[in-house]
Point group: C2
Amino acid sequence: MSAQFSVDNTHRTQLGPIATPDRLLLGPGPSNAHPTVLQALARTPIGHLDPLYVELMGEVQELLRYVWQTDNRLTIPMSGTGSAAMEATLANTIEPGDKVLVAVKGYFGLRLADMAGRYRAEVVTIERPWGEAFSLAEIEAALEHHRPAVLAMVHAETSTGILQPMEGIGELCRRYDCLLLLDTVTSLGAVPVRLDEWMVDLAYSCSQKGLSCPPGLGPFTMGPRAEAKLAARPDKVPNWYLDVSLLNQYWGSDRVYHHTAPVNMNFGMREALRLLADEGLESVWQRHRSNAERLWAGLERLGLTLHAPDHLRLPTLTTVRIPEGVDGKAFSLHLLNTFGIEVGGGLGALAGKVWRIGLMGYNSRAENVDRLLNLFESELPAFRPSASQAAVAASV
Amino acid sequence: MSAQFSVDNTHRTQLGPIATPDRLLLGPGPSNAHPTVLQALARTPIGHLDPLYVELMGEVQELLRYVWQTDNRLTIPMSGTGSAAMEATLANTIEPGDKVLVAVKGYFGLRLADMAGRYRAEVVTIERPWGEAFSLAEIEAALEHHRPAVLAMVHAETSTGILQPMEGIGELCRRYDCLLLLDTVTSLGAVPVRLDEWMVDLAYSCSQKGLSCPPGLGPFTMGPRAEAKLAARPDKVPNWYLDVSLLNQYWGSDRVYHHTAPVNMNFGMREALRLLADEGLESVWQRHRSNAERLWAGLERLGLTLHAPDHLRLPTLTTVRIPEGVDGKAFSLHLLNTFGIEVGGGLGALAGKVWRIGLMGYNSRAENVDRLLNLFESELPAFRPSASQAAVAASV
């Protein structure tokens, strides 16, 4: 070997083949992917300009329109996770100085506000406690007062388990000449979402929840009013990777190279959407609803308290209050290490206060609900303060 | 089914299972992934905060340091393609008004200039024709004249097949107090890259070339001088998804949630890097060199002209001039449709003038070289003008 090829081996770790375990992911996401989707990921890549790949792109777009119930032309999966798609909605829409009203009722509302500020929006917020939703009157008052260019809000708050009622909000946004931007990360493909009926102008989601795909793609959609704002902006979008005016030249009929698409992730997305369309959205929504109700009833039967009020409860993500004196983190680690089941902890204002249980996509099945309820019943008592005091007393 | 679940089926396309073909990808990328990497993609996802995933993150970081030959602490795969990692180097480094000097000798230099402008840099460029490299004297003259905060350049220009000699550039950048930012998209894991020896402050790459992974991740690294500039900036990074100060809280010891990692892609990346470290960088570099030489000699034996001069030729990507009168696009479509082999066309200034042949990672093998050379020998004559005139004459 010649000197030109000499190498420093400091960081050359010796590893064995990958040996990750099979987990049942019942936290806030990622959720388990459908086995057929996983097999699609392992297919030989094809070129991002291959005529067969271009055909697949069209299939993905069309089925995303179906799950979102929209006719939006600009409906594509962003080549990043849900957070990238979230940023894409803001980056393409906000011009410096635009007023953006963010309705914050949990962690992801705060994230929208942070991101919007980075695009030099004048950010104003309205807030509700973590575990409540906004009324139409509150939203109207804020629109009237602030007169924003964009209202950004979260349909399904993954941090609180709250589903925001959407009736009437789109009409208000039209009346106040404001774009409506909606986070559907934890609702798409699982809970009724009707973008066009709700008059939503911009929305985003992720691949790893209702769609039963691994994380890595961020579905994005933009309606005609948002497209018009983008077309009229005088400057370049201040984010190259997420610039929809460029992406549209690749996803549209021109097929101009923008970036090398994550083709294998899109193989998975195509299969995930195909399976979802085969089942049909009505059945999918119904299945999520009934499995969630089975979980809620079971948890309450065990004497646990659900954090979200019944009428605002999100079928995909349930927040359960950690009982007084229980170390919630220790219990979820026990479930992970002993049974291979992941359950999430609280975020932000709910850190240490709730567990977050996800029933999303492929994982929304009665057998998963029953398995988890059985474990709550058999394993939780040992983590209650009386039990540990009893254990201490017994060991003395 | 209740009315609340009624659905519009306009976009509910009926599809059969995915049936993409096995291609041999000998274009500019994506390249074929190693079969072991593809199998890793199909593993059951685990949580992005699972202790076993956190361990895997550390393995990926350490082996990226090895392939880049750097000790940089901040070495991570960005959750997007190579273009996202490219943007990350600029977004985290540029403050509004910073002067950024871009050395443009092909398509990806132009992209760097476009992106830098979006972060409100004062962008200045030096240029070389598409098929040449910069001399040290040219770079020094530009640094002296412009006094930029950042010099951005491309090590391996995928659009031209040119490898930029790096000796001495890092020293110049230190002397002129300028950060050195390097595109290693088509060199990492295939051609000698020695970031620390070359005094490179920021670099990025992709997953789908030398690393033998599908596209979807963008390796990123940042040295201490670039970290210091980031730490001193008074404003937030104007890109939330790529903000390294936030990402470092997830990849560093705090493990603070930022976004849901594309875990399956990282399973693949971990396996790709493990296989590369098993083979050893010296062997990998040597293999790419010898297979490229085999290709070059074979193409010249067939009377074809290589676009890049011998001493600047990139082992991973060869630009071959399309012979006078040949429809280059028709020939590459013939290879794709008849033999399942992808070869690339020219980009930008070289559109219609060259084919681009990639031998990268798993695909850099003598059998692939020989297969392609045989097809050039047997199939190209029919696309030469004399042949088609002969065919026309024969059909009359």
